[in-house]
Symmetry: C2
Subunit: 141 residues, 2 copies
């Protein structure tokens, strides 16, 4: 009735690979990041360095929060702020061979997880949507 064996499988074949993942780079300014987030339509995306290593996560909210002044929203400051100072850096990271049961635990509190390969390079992301499709197949098989 149920097939939950996938929980012991590595996530490797289901990772959304890096070239499909919208991201920004360290050194980009906050206004550029706001444009990327708006045009891609994602609420949070990874921040990478020039060597394609994961440095943090950036959301629209982190950007707007930083310009909430006492009197007004200080939009003019966006072009002079870097994503480096706004991004969230304490983020969970998994490997391409991490098992699904481990990502299951983490995805309860995170909409997506960043995945690294064996060399520590950004390999892609694992999302709640991908996991939920696997779970649906498991409970209905």
């Amino acid at each position: 009735v149920n097939n939950t064996e996938f929980l012991h499988e590595p996530i490797r074949d289901y990772v959304i690979s890096s070239e499909k993942v919208a991201h920004v780079q360290v050194g980009n300014n906050a206004e550029h990041a706001l444009l990327v987030l708006t045009k891609t339509g994602y609420s949070a995306i990874p921040v990478l360095d020039h060597g394609y290593h994961l440095k943090g996560l950036l959301s629209m909210g982190m950007i707007t929060e930083s310009i909430l002044g006492m009197e007004r929203i200080e939009y003019e400051r966006l072009s002079e702020m870097k994503v480096d100072e706004l991004m969230q850096t304490d983020i969970p990271i998994v490997g391409i061979d991490t098992e699904f049961r481990r990502v299951f635990d983490l995805l309860i509190n995170h909409p997506f997880l960043c995945v690294e390969d064996e060399e520590g390079m950004f390999a892609g992301i694992m999302t709640r949507r991908v996991l939920m499709k696997k779970l649906k197949k498991a409970v209905y098989t």
Copy 2:
């Protein structure tokens, strides 16, 4: 080994009730909405009318997309735009007695669902996180 009977249960007892749900109201301007989204930290929230009926969903991205001008981001227009013209109105809605298996299907493509009671009033939301906790319990019991 697995207990997926919860899939036939109504979501009623697990709905995050309306008084706990951050929202904005029709007629609010976009700058006010930007403040609410920033301060609550949510990426998308419901839009309600004054009778507490669901009218749409609003995200940070819908707001910023509306002010992307040819030359620059036109922040000054935010205070004169209403959430009504920016919100997404074609949204899935479920009832408090909808079964979990139905919300399971919908939550594959939506981070959360708005829930209505029998009178058509906004009753709360059902999130991916709540479903995933139920699923975890089901596959590990």
